[in-house]
């Protein structure tokens, strides 16, 4: 949503097949330096050039947040998905150069919690691996309930059990094991925070069960990835300067205007300050408003655009610039 997190040039150090569906990829910095530390629950956005299509997919960082020698992600192959996971499964090999973002956390621990109760489904285990490492180091209290289809697909289950024993509870669908959520929630001490990451249905189930049990909204957390900023190229005509240009997948509209040598005002480059507000003279298509500046009515009118964060999809866009 913002102009984009700062980027880290990395090299793939290791690729490990964890099970039939999941592979783990470890990145280290190309310049050999340390990675930024991160907070449990953070993700990185992995940039992929998938045979001409640019993909930007977020993956939870699963390592120990205090380990700055490298970042690890686990990728579940999604044969029906948009292709990012297939690319990472088929084309990524050790030694390959890639670019990832600085860590961003949209699923942070509430460090005021007296206890952290974690519900994971399938690949949703990954942010919890980092959170648990962080809590273990800080002496925080946690309990994990982790459901997968069967033991073969229960990634990292054995490691977790070996290290944390009774704080880890595993469930296998094929064996008919189910998390008995209402009882689990009813038995928690005051000040417990609940975290869920997994398939959409599981998130809905956990949130609604907690809701009906009277849990405060602010004590129930779920991972919510922002849609990756739409990165399709598009054309724009600048009426005042008489130029037509293409905004590339890697560029913002503002950057493209600047690259064309046209002076455009800006300040925050994050959709908040209002400086770059620009009149739209013609629009045959849809403006993707990603800013916090324009009112809903202004966005709907299609007469204004904030070039630092917003984009366009359609046939033609003409700006007063």
């Amino acid at each position: 949503m913002s102009g984009g997190a700062a980027k880290i040039p990395v090299r793939v150090a290791e690729v490990t097949e964890v099970n039939a569906l999941i592979r783990r990829i470890r990145f280290v910095r190309r310049d050999g330096g340390p990675m930024p530390a991160f907070s449990g629950g953070a993700h990185t956005v992995v940039e992929m050039d998938d045979h001409g299509t640019r993909r930007l997919n977020p993956y939870s960082l699963m390592g120990d947040p205090a380990d700055t020698t490298g970042y690890s992600i686990s990728v579940r192959r999604d044969d029906a998905g948009r292709g990012g996971s297939l690319y990472l499964h088929r084309h990524v090999v050790p030694g390959m150069d890639m670019v990832i973002s600085h860590p961003v956390n949209l699923f942070a621990l509430d460090l005021r919690a007296k206890k952290h109760l974690m519900i994971a489904g399938g690949i949703g285990i990954t942010p919890f691996l980092a959170q648990i490492a962080q809590l273990a180091a800080l002496g925080g209290r946690f309990e994990l309930h982790y459901a997968t289809r069967n033991p073969a697909l229960c990634a990292y289950g054995d490691e977790l059990t070996a290290r944390y024993g009774g704080r880890v509870h595993l469930y296998h669908d094929d064996a008919g094991q189910m998390i008995t959520l209402p009882a689990l929630l009813a038995g928690q001490p005051l000040g417990t925070h609940l975290y869920v990451c997994g398939p959409k249905g599981m998130i809905r189930w956990v949130r609604s069960t907690a809701d009906s049990a009277g849990w405060p909204r602010a004590a129930v957390h779920h991972e919510e990835f922002l849609a990756p900023p739409p990165g399709k190229a598009f054309d724009v005509t600048l009426a005042a300067s008489g130029k037509t240009l293409t905004v590339g997948t890697h560029q913002s509209l503002l950057e493209a205007i600047e690259a064309a040598g046209v002076d455009a005002p800006y300040l925050c480059r994050g959709g908040a300050c209002g400086q770059c507000e620009t009149d739209v003279l013609g629009c045959d298509g849809t403006i993707r408003h990603n800013d916090h500046w324009l009112t809903e009515a202004q966005k709907a009118s299609g007469q204004k655009i904030m070039p630092c964060v917003s984009r366009f999809e359609g046939r033609s866009l003409v700006l007063d610039r």
């Binding site: 913002s2 700062a6 860590p103 942070a108 460090l111 005021r112 908040a272």
Partner: protein, 346 residues
Amino acid sequence: MGLTFKDETFREDFTFFNSPAAIRRFPFPFPEDSYMYSVNMEPHVPGRPGSVFEKTFDVDEHYVAEMRERARVLAEDPLRCQSLPHMTLAGWDLLELIMEAKAREYPDWFSLQRDGNRWHWINRPLEIEQTFTFLDETTLPCGPMEYITRQTQGDFSLQDQRNDNLWMDAGMVTTQADWSLDFDLGMNFFEWHAPVPLAHEKQIFTRALKFLMNVQHGAPARRFNWTMTIDPLLDTSPENYPKWGPSRATLTPENVGRRMHLRVELQTFFRLPRSNALAFPIRCYLIRFEELATQPKWARRLHRVIRDLPDELAAYKGFLRNKPIMVDYLAQFDDGTPTSPGWWAD
């Protein structure tokens, strides 16, 4: 580095002043001849060499004296530094950010050696040397936030980010423009901004909050704020209002040039990596009107800004009653010629 740290005071005899070099690099905050609140934020990227934007945390000639002043304020009122228990990790984040930046950017004055979690820190201007274990509070003389902010100019608040808001859950606040950490601790972004006039109606805070929640690690931001202070007093706190408030009734046309100071805050915003908290350093720069008047463009512009400032803002900033004296004084420097765009001196 050819900088000497001045021996000066910010109370009683007020020996503080700016050297000619410090005047030239002063962060004059007005890019145009008028002022109104806005979402004036931009990326905190290194600026012109020599300017206060050159380094991540600017260290200037007032460094040692400001740190001495901070120690005195804390000795009188320990509640100026507070950290709720869940913010200790953010304090370590801040310590790491500042130590790394200072050691990298001012290698003659600061050094940091890391051997795993065993860290060795040297602060030459303050003659401090410390070996400690990162993330182990028992190895420092005080908490990590307090430790590093006793060695860094400017106030600091640390915001926890949760429930779609920012919460001021820790801070070191001894050089503030009339607000209180003890009062604001635990408040959210809208609560601590409640006293500010006009800005809520202009949707400034809703937009600013969204921007701040999205500030990402590795991409800090900055903005300016400003006010006016009589005498170079760093600690204009509500706690001490009885001590400094009455000075407002002592300003005269004869002493305004010497006693009135433009007070500029360079505010920066950093996402902290381990805690996901947002650090908010507020660096205060003072310049007396006489010093400012040595730069003709600034004096002309300041005259116009103050003359045309809405009364609500002058009242909130605490100089409404003295505004006529200030405007009269500044008018002598304003011949009506245009000012060049931007804030740099001509």
